[in-house]
Amino acid sequence: MENPKTMIKVDELQTSFYTSKGEIKAVDGVSFDVPTGKTLGIVGESGSGKSITSLSIMRLLEDPGKIKGGKITFSGEDLLAKSESAMRSIRGNRISMIFQEPMTSLNPVFTIGDQIAESYMIHEGLSKKQALKKALGMLELVGIPSPKDRLKAYPHQLSGGMRQRAMIAIALACRPELLIADEPTTALDVTIQAQILRLINNLQDELGMSMMLITHDLGVVAETCDYVAVMYAGKIVEYADVNTLFHSPKHPYTVGLLKSLPRHDIDQEELEVIKGMVPRPDDLPDGCRFAPRCPFATKLCEEKLPTLDTMADKNQVRCWIYTDQWDGPEVNVKNDYGTAQSK
């Protein structure tokens, strides 16, 4: 039996796109779990497979994407074994999603009220009138000013921040057990970002939801998450609780990401960047996928893919440096990263 305190458990998930050029492994053996009421951050650059992971959980992949293997257990139930209609009654009801683009994620021809009310009509079988009444309550909850007027407004009449609040109202309408927020603040102004994050955090506490926050912004992770999984090219490279990750990052990629954040406590002439590009998913390296960009990479890294191993402080790292087989010089990734990269 599953630990009852686990909201969702993803086990060796593999999602591929079958194109004319062959199979593209977008998510390649990803495992994590979100304890009830906690927040897991999934961090990575574009193309790392983080959004595909969330769409796989919702079973909303579009052709030619397919879940090839693995197991997704949501509060003890096997999601991959469910029928489409059973999935529909979970979507927007027990698992909800907020998307990155508030500008295009709302249907332009329906009012905000109609779009929130639809959830109640589908999942709670309410009449339109009752549903609109509850929709009004949701608009109040997400802090939209003069909610009565906004109920009748069309998306184009609202600002980006207001639209994202409306999206949150749609997602939270049926009080989901799990909220998947896919880059919910990326498209917003910095000042609005903070407001939206605070709103999501407060609502999470209020409703006792579990959450998966997908982002490329480590600053956002530090503020909101309990656990973090760092993804790179379809695989998790480091998985730890948020304190461990920020205080003793292990994987060179994580360290690179942290170093590329602007800091106000030290004088910086220039931000450090991770050199190179994320590999194309149809042309992945044979060994460690980060090896071509890694300042510490050796021959072993280029030839063999390391496994995700649990360390002494309980975080998991996929890197040869922390194994007996390491063939390079002794390094401390966190301290030596800068010097190694400038070489």
Binding site: M58, L60, E62, R88, S89, I90, R91, G92, N93, S96, M97, F99, E101, T104, S105, L106, N107, P108, V109, F110, E118, S119, I122, H123, Y154, H156, M167, I170
Partner: protein, 306 residues
């Protein structure tokens, strides 16, 4: 919405004035002398000159044009050169036949075009999709008078119950409406398909699915409302093509409508009739486009005038 309607209505005035100018110029620039025809072939130069005077053809251009517009505004489009009857009453007798033909044909093309387009888009690249698109290509490429002739040859003649000509009974409607509506159905099907395919990949469709909306409602509620916006424009434009097609369809099926009337008037060089008919058809087109603009606004809330 009310203000929008009024403003759109006012905007049609310059268009209609432009139409009158073009119609007026057209009749004066093409070869053939109306005075000569009205006076008869054996009339001498003096008689023709007298007729020209009576018709006001010797007046300056602007005076003739002003008179034409002022008279037309009062419903007076002159008299037929041949029959001598008022053009307005001649047109009035045939106008509704053409409107009816155009209306039913539009209805048919919207009905078939929308269904075919939606099926094609949702079953993309399937056998059905390919079949519908090939069929649409045929419908689009086929000249409608030829389609009319084929329908008469293979449907009307072998089966007694489909008449080859006339207008009024449901049986008489069927073949002309198919003839005229096919091209429109084909265009609307293709337009609906591409518009649907574009909309289906929008973020808000994913939002609807993430809400747990049934696929049927995702298509017919969330996607179709958005996909219809460009289709409506095509329906409006198609109506103009339809009026042109009505001329040929009415001729093929011997329907006593405005289209056939114009063709006959052209052959007889009955200028006032041609002038009046073209003006009426053009105004009908302007009116339909006005309706399209209004429905556009109903479908797409983002449109604000200026």
């Amino acid at each position: 919405m009310f203000v929008y309607t009024i403003r759109r209505l006012l905007q049609t005035i310059p268009v209609i004035l432009g139409v009158t100018l073009v119609v007026f110029l057209m009749m004066h620039l093409i070869p053939g002398d109306p005075a000569q025809i009205m006076a008869g072939e054996r009339a001498d130069e003096a008689q023709v000159e007298q007729m020209r005077d009576r018709l006001g053809l010797n007046d300056p251009f602007y005076a003739q044009y002003t008179r034409f517009v002022v008279d037309a505004a009062q419903g007076d489009l002159g008299n037929s050169v041949r029959s001598g009857r008022a053009v307005s009453s001649e047109i009035g007798a045939r106008f509704w036949v053409t409107v009816e033909l155009a209306f039913y044909s539009t209805l048919l093309s919207i009905f078939i075009g929308l269904i075919a387009g939606i099926v094609s888009a949702t079953k993309r690249n399937s056998f059905l999709d390919v079949f519908i698109m090939i069929f649409a290509l045929f419908g689009l490429s086929m000249p409608n008078f030829w389609l009319g002739l084929m329908l008469i040859q293979y449907f009307a003649l072998p089966f007694d119950w489909l008449p080859v000509s006339g207008w009024g009974t449901p049986e008489q409607l069927l073949l002309p409406v198919i003839t005229l509506g096919t091209a429109g159905a084909a265009i609307i099907a293709r337009m609906t398909r591409s518009s649907m395919l574009e909309v289906i990949h929008q973020d808000y469709i994913r939002t609807a699915r993430a809400k747990g909306v049934k696929e049927r409602y995702v298509i017919y509620k969330h996607a179709l409302r958005n996909a219809l916006i460009p289709v409506v424009t095509v329906v409006g434009l198609q109506f103009g093509v339809l009026l042109g097609g009505a001329v040929l369809t009415e001729t093929v099926f011997a329907i006593n409508g405005l289209g056939r009337f114009v063709v006959e008037a052209i052959a007889m060089r009955d200028f006032p009739i041609v002038q009046g008919s073209v003006l009426v058809l053009a105004m009908l087109f302007v009116f339909v486009n006005f309706l399209v603009d209004i429905s556009y606004r109903v479908l797409n809330k983002r449109i604000e005038l200026d």
